[in-house]
């Protein structure tokens, strides 16, 4: 005897759908919080000459080895939005962080940039580097989560670094139709812009009263104004 003749097609479909829901729910639960960062202010970074260059780092002829080594307060120049990543059925019962996305006003967050590259006049070639994220959020702490960048790495999940040389005209800021305004910086000093895309980075969240949870940065794009030292 066949199964569908015993319990009927509608019931079978319901069972199949339930299985799919369980599988989908399990996949979506791979991380606990979705972090989304939005920058809204400009910040400058400077290219510094490297004095004691590592022997394995060379630049093309006529180009010089330089580094960007700095720590930037991300909470100061943007906002972080947190959304609990829960299946709908569990989300209804969660009231401690709210059931939807919210901006974490009290978040502390910074990034340490260590980037090595070559410079030829206004052109800059990022070679390799490391970006380290630390943060203190309502839902826990992220301690020194590092993302490693290598220039010819083409994988989707790896950090993307993009440099644009500025040739002419005004560099536009985050406010629509407005030029970049950074105290003490003239537009003429701008060499270019550096974009870092660390989206898809995940990091463990630790807290005193809860087991370790996982945060996923669905959006973590940063743009810096590059000036020469």
């Amino acid at each position: 005897m066949r199964l569908h003749s015993l319990i009927g097609w509608p019931t079978l479909r319901l069972i199949a759908a339930s299985f799919l829901m369980v599988i989908w729910g399990g996949a979506a639960y791979a991380y606990d919080f979705d972090f989304s960062y939005r920058q809204n202010r400009d910040v400058a970074v400077s290219l510094q000459p490297v004095t004691n260059a590592p022997s394995d780092q060379t630049c093309p002829e006529h180009a010089g080895l330089v580094q960007i080594s700095t720590k930037i307060d991300l909470a100061e120049i943007g906002t972080i939005t947190i959304e609990p990543n829960l299946p709908e059925i569990l989300r209804a019962g969660r009231i401690d962080y709210g059931s939807g996305s919210y901006i974490d006003q009290n978040a502390a967050m910074d990034i340490e940039i260590d980037l090595l590259g070559c410079v030829f006049r206004q052109n800059f070639l990022p070679l390799n580097g490391q970006f380290t994220i630390s943060g203190d959020y309502d839902v826990g702490r992220i301690a020194d989560e590092a993302a490693v960048f290598v220039s010819n790495d083409n994988r989707r999940s790896s950090p993307k670094v993009d440099y644009q040389t500025h040739w002419s005209g005004l560099v536009h800021g985050f406010a629509p139709g407005e030029a970049v305004r950074i105290p003490g910086l003239l537009q003429d000093q701008i060499m270019g812009t550096l974009t870092l895309d660390l989206s898809r980075l995940d990091a463990p969240l630790t807290s005193d009263d809860r087991p370790v949870q996982l945060a996923m940065f669905s959006r973590l794009r940063l743009r810096f104004i590059v000036v020469s030292d």
């Binding site: 060379t58 002829e61 006529h62 070559c118 052109n123 220039s151 644009q164 040739w167 536009h172």
Partner: protein
């Protein structure tokens, strides 16, 4: 009487467009094209510091209107000036006390837009090139053409300053090594041509660009906003460029 008043009002609105500044945008039509980086002879008007040598990018694009009504550009100074008396009597050729009537194009908007413009942007970017590493010297451009009965011929030379309405940025994708070979090729995410040496992003905005009436002395102002990305840049040598 009522009909006459309404008629007068509608004509007044039509002719008032003549006086106000016309706002609109131009969209640069982006066809698939390969922009050529042409090394220029040493007798070029400018010199480059070694190891760079002079190189130019020459391009030409047709501009199309994006969201403006070209109707006012069809105004003509040759008008029949008529005065209509309340009695219904029409007197021709008298300007005082009468009103001006202009011919309005009643064809569909899209047809008028297509026929309305014949404006092109020609630009030469003068650069210093060391492989794919480019330094900007200056940009020279001409925006010329006609919309209806109005003509524009705008010419400008722009240096690396911040004052102009021309914003240009560049990303070199191909660095050369000590021995002249390829040092590193950075992945190009939006590339169309695998051997493209880099990407140029260009944005031109000119507020209130005056268009002069061909058969009169009226002037219409138009905002020009256009942007273009060159992602298919290849290097050609001087021999190929001449052909």
């Amino acid at each position: 009487m009522q009909t006459l008043t309404f008629f007068f009002l509608s004509l007044f609105l039509a002719s008032s467009a003549h006086a106000e500044n016309l706002r609109g945008r131009f969209l640069l039509v982006d066809g698939i094209s390969i922009e050529q980086l042409i090394p220029v002879a040493t007798e070029a008007a400018y010199e480059c510091e070694a190891p760079s040598t002079p190189a130019q990018i020459v391009f030409s694009k047709i501009l199309r209107p994006l969201d403006f009504d070209p109707t006012p550009f069809f105004q003509s100074s040759i008008r029949n000036q008529v005065t209509i008396r309340r009695s219904g009597q029409v007197e021709e050729g008298q300007s005082n006390g009468g009103f001006q009537a202009s011919l309005l194009d009643r064809r569909p908007e899209i047809v008028r837009r297509a026929e309305a413009t014949d404006v092109s942007l020609n630009m030469t970017l003068s650069l210093c090139a060391y492989g794919s590493l480019l330094d900007f010297v200056e940009a020279e451009y001409t925006l010329a053409g006609q919309i209806g009965n109005f003509r524009v011929d705008h010419h400008k030379t722009v240096g690396p300053g911040t004052e102009s309405g021309l914003s240009i940025s560049y990303t070199g994708r191909n660095w050369t090594s000590h021995d002249g070979g390829q040092f590193l090729q950075i992945p190009l995410f939006q590339h169309r041509t695998p051997n493209s040496i880099g990407i140029i992003n260009l944005r031109l905005s000119i507020p209130d660009l005056p268009f002069q009436q061909i058969d009169g002395d009226a002037e219409l102002l138009l905002d020009i906003n256009t942007s273009h990305t060159f992602s298919n840049m290849i290097v050609v040598d001087a021999m190929d460029a001449k052909q």
